[in-house]
């Protein structure tokens, strides 16, 4: 029984370790941080993911309370940082802003998410 168990677990672990595949991209962290309040308006929003992204299918937008876009719509993936999304922002007045992202990891798994941050209340 013990040998059987060891073989099962070792086999499973070896299978996992032997494969250098990519997987779903989770949001690891962001700047401004998820749910944070900042005193001054940030010039960019940067998102760090757990996997490299497909540039053509990965995007981020930032909207204000009224649903209007306040991002500059530029350069979502910085050169040399394939696991990041970055987008410039217009000057932001006080308020709550929603970051919406949709990414596809390099093995074609899509993920998405939204979060908010506040400006002027930090």
């Amino acid at each position: 029984m013990r040998r059987f168990m060891v073989a099962l677990i070792a086999g499973g672990a070896a299978t996992s370790a032997a494969l250098a595949a990519q997987a779903h991209a989770f949001l690891d962290h962001a700047s401004p941080a998820v749910g944070s309040s900042v005193s001054t308006a940030p010039p960019v929003v940067t998102l760090w993911f757990t996997q490299d992204l497909e540039p053509a299918f990965s995007d981020v937008t930032v909207t204000n309370d009224g649903g209007q876009r306040v991002d500059l719509g530029n350069a979502p993936i910085p050169p040399g940082s394939p696991a990041q999304l970055q987008i410039g922002l217009k000057p932001l007045p006080r308020g709550t802003y929603t970051v919406s992202w949709h990414v596809v990891s390099v093995d074609t798994h899509p993920t998405e998410g939204t979060f908010t941050f506040d400006v002027g209340s930090g």
């Binding site: 499973g12 299978t15 595949a21 962290h29 998820v34 757990t50 996997q51 998405e112």
Partner: protein, 305 residues
Amino acid sequence: MRSLQLEAVVGAAAILFSANSAALAHGWAGQRFFPATILTDDPFVADEISLPQVTVTPPGPDGAQSTGVQIDLSKRITPDTGVIIGDQWQRLQPSGLPAVTGFGPLRTEAQYQLFINGPHEALGLLGLNVIWAHTGRVQALGAPDFTTLAPTFNFGKGLGDLPRSLPYLRPIAVTGNLGFGFPTKTESAGVPNPTTFNYGFAFEYSFSYLECCVKDIGLRAPFSQLIPLVEVAFTTPINRIPASHTIGTIQPGVIWAGQYFQIGAEAIFPANRFTGHGYGGVFQLHFYLDDLFPRSIGRPISEWW
């Protein structure tokens, strides 16, 4: 021998909800990630394998205790349909009698993904579980000598669409299953085989959801990948034996979900005296085949060519 007969009495019903743990979903609805829960049926078709799941049950009413090693494979046929196949090697230790070992019954499930609602983090799945007669060690282990057909509805709902004024409730998700088990024989060796109502729920709190979508409280891997949860599952007879003979377990635990696999562990507490007494435990190592083999066997069979 009395313990073996008792095992047979509750066997079909108990297998039904333990079989539900074979549902191996690794799924998303919008920004919500649902892990594969150990006890309750998951609301996703998936490409996954439990390798292995080890369960030590609490002692039954007669003191019999079993240890099981279970393997379950879940495979998508198309993006919305899938099958599950699973079996378990079991060691049963009746009170005061020698232990017996052998395989339990073969379990299969056909699944159809009814809906996925991303904005509301909601899922629904229809399934037909089948526990096959004479595929386990009937005499010694109490494996069934009859086939059981168990249609089920599985659902999942994340609370991410709650108002932002309730931030710390938004990482909560509930999954569950509701179904019936119809035995193809009304009795076995003079013991009635009841039709059963099977229901189970998993209440989860996702730290990864908290971090990604609500508020960054500074948790980082591996702690941000933890999902504490409590699972409950019950089987209630609806004919042939009294409904008061409901059996069920309550299982608090935690799942750690990584990129390619997850690890789960739960304590097992009997919900009533018909289920047993004391406590047991379950451990599961569970691989995401769609992430491990995204361009081959991890895809639905319909997309292989």
